[in-house]
């Protein structure tokens, strides 16, 4: 059974993606037998290309996707370069995990509450500085250039990339390299850019591609922060898929397939751009400059990075504020009256949705943990060495745009009579939960000193006894962190729930997105706040439980 673990895992992970991509490709070329369309044609593409907003949508997608990724990576590198080797680095390391576990949707909604024309910042400066006693008439959210969308993506991706960078510093002997460079007269931030950053980039390349793919193709953030007409390509596709006009499925599938091509090309272009950037970096290193404009430039960029982290936390805080407000008129800085009325009014619905959300997240995380542990244990028992191919396979769900394969999955589920079931939703979540659980657990699992298992075997313990009584308890902390990450990934998922749930399964996330287009901020805030709080509570529990359990075990702290 254990031997089959890698194969089962791969099939569960990639089977739906491959089937879904094909099932979307068909209708993109006019082929969808369920609707009686049996002939292959280019009509869906003609319809897509002739859509009035098509070229703007494509341009918006590319600009916001690349813009957000380039800015996030710059902020991440500047944050790490200016704090490496100092206390700030550890502070960063502690501050970021909560941001990572907060769903995109909650950050996007909170961020919109901050920057909207009637938002918190406008209130803070009105009317005394701006003279506004009514919200200004220009768009600061959903602007046609996608600037608010880029900013929202940056809040989230900077935290993600910075955490990946911090994790990678352990593998590149950062301290020693920086000390050596310091002895040669380089400032810490310059030393980081010169000798540490290239090696770290090689380590975080796949996470960077994942951030690019997400920025190019996400639907939930673009729905909340992006322009409405024309929207991004992914939103356009999602809108057509969700409409009642079945004929729209065809151009929608074409848009979804194009989205896949955009991401594929985007990652390819990014990979090619690494070559000249690397060459420029090497030439710059050869020049041996010890001081220049880089230090102030890095400090300024890092300032923006800190602003991004602060805004992300502020986005969560504003949700709490709005959920407790009763009367809060523009331009009052704080609510005039406070109340728990909105909470009381929606408690039943929030609790039910939170229950469903937690159930889906818990089950998909437990399945992911089981498969991951089975693969890792199989790898150790059979002493298999895992190549780079396995790593790429794990990243496929994070690179392939959700919109590009979920429609195909949906039609398949409908045909099997399986759509709208909890099982289907959980499986769809598993596709995204599993990679994160695996990636976060593999390193600690492989790093456990193999001599503990050998000692136990020499004492007569069987492999399964060693697994359950030695390895698992020793890895409890890592297991907890992995589970919390898996849980938060599941809570954050929007499109997978939407497409496989068939309207019968709703979570806090789908509800928050639906509500976000409505008017009452207090109600939106209640749902979005709980959506943000749920993974945070689980994350805190995952840290606290092993600490309590092992309070008398210094060797495991």
């Amino acid at each position: 059974m254990l031997r089959l673990a890698p194969a089962i895992t791969l099939v569960m992970l990639l089977g739906p993606i491959v089937a879904g991509l094909l099932g979307t490709l068909g209708p993109a070329f006019g082929y969808l037998p369920v609707l009686g369309a049996n002939t292959v044609s280019l009509d869906p593409w003609r319809e897509l290309l002739s859509h009035s907003g098509f070229s703007s949508a494509l341009a918006l997608t590319i600009v916001s996707g690349f813009g957000a990724t380039v800015i996030s990576l710059a902020l991440c590198i500047a944050l790490c370069a200016t704090s490496a080797g100092s206390r700030g680095f550890e502070r960063l390391q502690r501050a970021l995990p909560p941001l990572l576990s907060t769903p995109h949707v909650a950050i996007a909604i909170g961020f919109a509450f901050l920057i909207a024309p009637s938002g918190f910042f406008a209130r803070a400066f009105s009317p005394w500085a701006t003279g506004w006693d009514r919200p200004p008439g220009f768009a600061t959210v959903n602007d046609v250039y996608g600037l608010s969308l880029i900013a929202g993506l940056v809040l989230k991706e900077t935290a993600y990339l910075a955490l990946m960078t911090i994790a990678a510093t352990g593998q590149v002997a950062m301290r020693a390299s920086m000390d050596a460079a310091a002895a040669l007269g380089y400032s810490p931030s310059r030393a980081f850019i010169a000798v540490v950053a290239p090696r770290i980039y090689a380590q975080i390349r796949l996470p960077v591609y994942a951030a690019l793919a997400y920025s190019l193709s996400n639907v939930e953030m673009a729905l909340i922060l992006g322009p409405g007409n024309p929207p991004t390509l992914a939103v356009l596709a999602a809108r057509w898929f969700a409409g009642y006009d079945l004929a729209q499925y065809f151009p929608a599938a074409a848009a979804a397939t194009l989205q896949f091509a955009v991401v594929l090309t985007g990652v390819g272009v990014w990979r090619l751009m690494e070559i000249p950037v690397g060459a420029i970096h090497r030439r710059w290193v050869m020049r041996g400059r010890r001081r220049g404009f880089m230090e102030p430039a890095l400090a300024a960029t890092a300032g923006l990075g800190k602003l991004s982290v602060t805004l992300a936390f502020a986005s969560i805080a504003i949700l709490a504020l709005w959920s407790l407000a009763f009367r809060w008129r523009f331009p009052d800085f704080l609510p005039e009256t406070w109340s728990l009325a909105i909470w009381a009014q929606h408690l039943g619905s929030v609790a039910r949705l939170a229950g469903v959300t937690a159930l889906i997240a818990t089950v998909s995380t437990l399945i992911a943990l089981t498969l991951t542990l089975a693969c890792l244990e199989n790898e150790q028992r059979r002493a298999v060495r895992v190549g780079r191919g396995a790593l790429w396979a794990l990243y496929i769900p994070l690179l392939v745009p959700q919109i590009a394969f979920l429609f195909g999955v949906q039609t398949l589920l409908v045909r099997l009579g399986f759509d709208g079931s909890m099982g289907a939703v959980i499986w769809a979540h598993l596709i995204f939960v599993l990679p994160y659980v695996f990636l976060s657990l593999a390193d600690p699992y492989r790093a456990l000193d193999p001599r503990f298992a050998r000692s136990a075997a020499a004492l007569g313990a069987s492999p399964s006894r060693i697994f359950f009584t030695v390895k698992l308890p020793m890895l409890l902390k890592s297991l907890g962190v992995s589970a919390a990450i898996g849980f938060s990934v599941s809570v954050a998922l929007y499109l997978p729930t939407l497409f496989t749930g068939a309207g019968r399964v709703s979570t806090l996330t789908t509800e928050a997105v639906t509500l976000s287009s409505g008017g009452d901020r207090r109600v939106i805030a209640v749902y979005a706040f709980i959506q943000a709080a749920l993974p945070l509570v689980v994350y805190a529990a995952a840290l606290v439980a092993p600490a309590i359990l092992y309070r008398n075990r210094r060797g495991l702290r």
Partner: protein, 215 residues
């Protein structure tokens, strides 16, 4: 003909093109301590790993290992009844001192009371009566080393492999622990194979010395 104790017949270990051990024949009688010496990389630890049953698949090993006349080839590590002490004590950090010892104690001792009695008896022999509920991480290096030995002995091994278990201890402690280990090994009549690169260890063992480089 076979002997009591641990017997190696024509044991060779190779990694890639390099031969680490070449046709080693060796008999270790019950209660005898044989020392295997050699610089690092000479295959000492690989030899112990082969005997213990957890040699990395990157190594190719051949030859026969017999324990009290029976071949070990078909047995997995947990079925060989060969106790091993490593340079690190490798006490399980999630278990108490008593938990570690009970983990090691052979399953032939049944019943909670009987098992705890055996564990406590072992603690007494190690002079660690007051430490049974302690976190192993709070013990001194010498105390941890003694717990590790007792854990190994409680499993009821028929032979003992020592992979430089004295290497990390300070001088006076090292001498005490060495005597403690040899005394217990002889008392129980265990054929013991000690791997070390320290001549003093070999001298203290007092038995035959096999030099791997010369082999």
């Amino acid at each position: 003909m076979t002997h009591d104790g641990l017997e190696l017949r024509g044991v060779s270990i190779k990694v890639g093109d390099a031969t680490l051990v070449d046709g080693l024949d060796l008999c270790v009688a019950p209660g005898e301590v044989v020392t295997v010496m050699g610089p690092s990389g000479s295959g000492k630890s690989s030899l112990l790993a082969f005997i213990g049953g957890f040699l990395d698949p990157a190594f190719a090993a051949s030859g026969e290992i017999l324990l009290d006349g029976a071949s070990l080839a078909a047995l997995p590590a947990q079925g060989r009844r060969i106790g091993i002490l490593f340079q690190d004590d490798l006490l399980f950090p999630h278990l108490s001192v008593r938990g570690n010892l009970a983990f090691g104690l052979t399953q032939d001792v049944r019943g909670r009371a009987a098992r705890l009695a055996r564990v406590d008896e072992a603690l007494e022999q190690a002079g660690l009566e007051g430490f049974r509920d302690r976190d192993p991480a709070t013990l001194s290096g010498g105390q941890r080393a003694r717990v590790a030995l007792m854990r190994t002995l409680l499993a009821g091994p028929k032979a003992l492999l020592l992979d430089e278990p004295f290497g990390k201890l300070d001088r006076p402690l090292r001498k005490d622990f060495r005597e403690f280990v040899f005394e217990h090994a002889r008392m129980r009549g265990l054929p013991t194979l000690l791997v070390t690169h320290d001549a003093e260890d070999a001298e203290a063992a007092g038995g035959r010395v096999v030099d791997l480089e010369a082999a």
